[in-house]
């Protein structure tokens, strides 16, 4: 039985902060960040937006694209994030309740730094393939934070992408051709319990972590499927900044034309668990039947999930029925200054 994506959706908050606005507070050189990391601005969640609210909105859009579908037919809901609003009480319970999927559903929250979203997608498609559930929802969402003044503060952003998987061939808009995962113990980034902000291994986050895992995972799935870079219409790699996804793509043998559609980070920032899944929503928004698509995530710690997808004829029927990712990224932005940003992100200590 073939399994695939039957619905997808993205949600991007309207607020943005420009790189200069952060740099001026910390006496940093904005031009060198722009050049070095290829970042211009990033999304900022409002006080009333979090992993749960963005997941609900992204998933509603996925359900619209899935067509008339009884939410009760969804047998599994997985929410991948490193910014679940509760330390104990799954985000997925609220999401499933809001979507009308409860009570006969398997729900779990997942965590694996920036690849928690593709973990959920991996499990969701596998359960459908095994025949355990009719439909399964995998969501990646984050409202991540960097410590004030840290390099991560320039990139940590907010957004969500949701994927509904199913096995009914008349609903599949992108078939899952293959999956592949590559994981080791690599201490490049972590956050201990009760800590507000993560720590990272600075330059150690590049070669041994991001590049090694993504290269191995992407090469692994190409070896497994016998596909070459030039056979793909689009490729999406995890985007912690603007620079890394293009560099890793080029090293693997992909061209700018194959990489640029899913390359959102220069204007979105790093949405962590939402990052590569949102790159994929941007690709599906313009993909054509028959297109082969590679998506490779990366999560610090470290691991990388890859998927090869083949877009079907149904794609053209669903692209315009819910909000387009690029339209959300480019329009109706509300720019905030650093003071407002600090308040929205809870970086200001309030009185009792």
């Amino acid at each position: 039985m073939s399994v695939g994506i039957v619905g997808y959706g993205a949600f991007i908050p309207r607020r943005r902060i420009k790189l200069e606005e952060i740099a001026k507070v910390w006496g940093a050189d904005a031009a060198s960040y722009r050049r070095g990391l290829q970042l211009h601005e990033k999304s900022v969640p409002g006080k009333d937006e979090d992993t749960i609210t963005m997941s609900v909105e992204a998933a509603r859009r996925a359900l619209v694209r899935a067509g008339d579908l009884d939410p009760a037919a969804i047998g599994a809901v997985y929410v991948g994030s490193e910014s679940h609003p509760y330390a104990v009480k799954p985000s997925g319970t609220v999401v499933a309740e809001a979507l009308g999927i409860t009570p006969q559903v398997h729900v779990a929250d997942l965590e694996f730094a920036c690849k928690a979203g593709t973990e959920g997608m991996f499990l969701a498609q596998a359960l459908v393939k095994a025949g355990e559930v009719e439909y399964a929802l995998g969501i990646g969402a984050d409202t991540s934070q960097g410590a004030p003044g840290d390099a991560l503060e320039y990139s940590a952003a907010a957004g969500a992408a949701a994927y509904l998987f199913g096995g009914d061939s008349d609903r599949i808009l992108a078939e899952v051709v293959a999956t592949y995962s590559w994981t080791t113990d690599t201490p490049d980034f972590w956050r201990r319990a009760y800590m507000h902000y993560p720590r990272h291994g600075s330059r150690f986050t590049g070669e041994p972590a991001y590049f090694r895992h993504i290269m191995s995972s992407a090469q692994g799935i190409m070896d497994k499927t016998g596909l070459k870079p030039q056979e793909f219409a689009h490729a999406i790699f995890h985007q912690p900044n603007g620079k890394f996804p293009i560099r890793v793509g080029k090293r693997l043998g992909f061209t700018t034309a194959q990489l640029e559609t899913g390359w959102l980070s220069p204007w979105l920032g790093n949405t962590y668990s939402g990052a590569s899944p949102m790159g994929l929503t941007a690709v599906l928004d313009i993909a054509r039947p028959g297109d082969l698509v590679l998506i490779t995530s990366f999560g610090s710690g470290a691991g990388s999930d890859s998927f090869v997808l083949r877009v079907t004829e149904r794609i053209s029927e669903v692209q315009d029925v819910a909000p387009i990712t690029r339209v959300q990224l480019d329009n109706d932005k509300i720019y905030v200054d650093y003071g407002t940003y600090a308040k929205l992100r809870g970086k200001i200590r309030m009185g009792e």
Partner: protein, 132 residues
């Protein structure tokens, strides 16, 4: 602030915008009620409300109640949904320079409403945002 029990009872209306339609006269009640205000009927069926509507009227609260102070100023609107039912909701994502007008199209989005302190429950529901 709501207790866990009260907020849990209200999940269907707050999370899924479920309303009660009187099976006698057809009037839709949101939030749901036990006796129909039009015909005194006592039997209802659950209907989901549309999330699209238009602003009927609005106001801005500059001194919001406890739990909402960080969101000051608080924009509140009465929105007539596509099925004719009017709901009172907060308006989200409205910068100061963006003036709301009567008749403006809006849609309801799932948002955090408030929380019971840093260690307490988080309450979710719907707010109006500009339709685009």
């Amino acid at each position: 602030m709501f207790s866990p029990a009260r907020s849990w009872r209200e999940f269907p209306q707050r999370y899924r915008l479920e309303a009660a339609r009187c099976t006698v006269c057809g009037k839709i009640h949101y939030p749901p009620r036990l006796v129909c205000s039009a015909c005194r009927g006592r039997t209802f069926e659950t209907v989901a409300m549309p999330r699209e509507g238009a602003v009927v009227t609005f106001t801005t609260i500059h001194v919001p109640p406890k739990g909402f102070t960080e969101q000051s100023p608080l924009d509140i609107a009465i929105v007539e949904l596509a099925n004719g039912v009017r709901v009172m909701v907060q308006v989200a994502d409205l910068p100061e320079a963006d003036e709301l007008r009567i008749g403006d199209p809006v849609r309801l989005e799932f948002r955090r409403i408030c929380d019971d302190g840093e260690a307490g429950l988080i309450f979710y529901g719907h707010k109006a945002v500009r339709a685009r």
